[in-house]
Symmetry: C2
Subunit: 317 residues, 2 copies
Amino acid sequence: MATLKVPAQVPSPSEDAEQLRKAFVGWGTNEDLIISILAHRNASQRKLISETYASTYGEDLLVSLDKELSSDFERIVMLWALGPPAERDAFLANEATKRMTSNNWVLMEIASTRSSLDLFKVKQAYQARFKRSLEEDVAYHTSGDFRKLLVPLVSTFRYEGEEVNMTLAKSEAKLLHEKIAEKAYNDEEVIRIITTRSKAQLNATLNHYNNDFGNAINKDLKSNPEDEYLKLLRSTIKCLTFPEKYFEKVLRMAINKLGTDEWALTRVVVTRAEVDMERIKEDYQRRNSVPLDQAISNDTSGDYEKMLLALIGHGDY
Amino acid sequence: MATLKVPAQVPSPSEDAEQLRKAFVGWGTNEDLIISILAHRNASQRKLISETYASTYGEDLLVSLDKELSSDFERIVMLWALGPPAERDAFLANEATKRMTSNNWVLMEIASTRSSLDLFKVKQAYQARFKRSLEEDVAYHTSGDFRKLLVPLVSTFRYEGEEVNMTLAKSEAKLLHEKIAEKAYNDEEVIRIITTRSKAQLNATLNHYNNDFGNAINKDLKSNPEDEYLKLLRSTIKCLTFPEKYFEKVLRMAINKLGTDEWALTRVVVTRAEVDMERIKEDYQRRNSVPLDQAISNDTSGDYEKMLLALIGHGDY
């Protein structure tokens, strides 16, 4: 469930655009006004505001935001205003293939937690914006075991029906167990099963694994807890089967880190606020014995904090 | 250019459906009537006929055809009537992953010669019909080097713009040449370049290869002419850059073969009649010094021959 709160009476896109323009011009910038508007409009409403703003003031809303805002607050507002989720994901994925901002986790996360059709839309948006395919950029900028896992992961168009073949689940659970027992973590059969099977089928396979061999697969994949490839493999499995648990952990790590990982915090809040942030908040509180909004308040400040809290549905609205 | 000939005045779908019904009932089957209708309607017209037939006679057109026709003529009419190209490709691809009819060439051909969006539609049709993804079936039913090439080939959503990065083309041509010189034909870099780059980019890379190293890449890939993987790799490159040459060769081999390969002949005629069969016919005549329709006439007979000739636009209409 989403945490985004939209008012019962939404102002027209031209009223919103006008208010935003007011927030930008004159003495200083009115950050509270920006938050009160943008943090309470859904993706299609933001799209309309953006279009109206551009046609009324002859300037892209993102350009105005870029001029007026800075640092973490700028990044969260820009990502939020960037357009439909597919546009934002395409932007994040592209950043993740660039040398200075390369990030296998972001690629894995986008490929594994979006629906098949949403991932396809990300690929279309990626091509329209960058004039290359997501697949070629991921393949070009990764190497070794990471490439072996990530390229099929971003390429595949997974089936999403609920049909499950239990015989296959049993035999593939056995196959996974054999390979893992041999420490063949990058074996092509392991990668084939994880990157091509439907989430329902994979879930059945992993249940068989757990029942037939006594451990959850991710426990067996912890032989070397600091191995970066194994970490990514475990997270992929988590994203495909329990995405909210994965996101809870990313938030936990981002907040607990000395100095806070604002990029991760921003990314999860912005990409999940309209999807399953309610569920992630529940898991967060259960796992950390502190509500997410309180943890965020303790760790962040100013307009950045306000924007985060608004997006996770903090307080009355 | 297509070879399909559609009359200037097309009868209504219900007239066509009625005529087809007449061709099925009573003494024997009127094959000429079936050909005169179906072989002269385009994909969307056939779809309407099919829908009208089903709603009027309470039976799927394919079921009626299956009852009335047999052998090679049955297969070509069924494949032609099967529905939009994506449905037919999904059917052919599924056959190609089955044990008794497995065929890596068909998978490669569908993945490499369809547009990115058409390939995506094949994947959607595949999932709707078979309740699994094309990717998982291909990955499950292939192995070794064939899997290494085919899985990314069917998975990728290639960029289709004309933009070409010449610096990249030069460096990737060099990389391909190095790997081929080492006989590392299944090297992951070779496969990455072939399976992820846009057709325009790949073409630029292969031109550089030819200019900088003195041979066309497919010549350098002929070190062991009978190696099945190398054959498939060469054909993939041909499909991605000169599809009509590839199809000419499939037709040539199918016709020259002792006993004729009707499956290949049918497949190429049915899948290209509405796309580029005119061009393939030109290439065929140039390469074989005999027109394709004459070669087909010499090698086939009866209703099957008539249907093939109608689809390649033989004679006046």
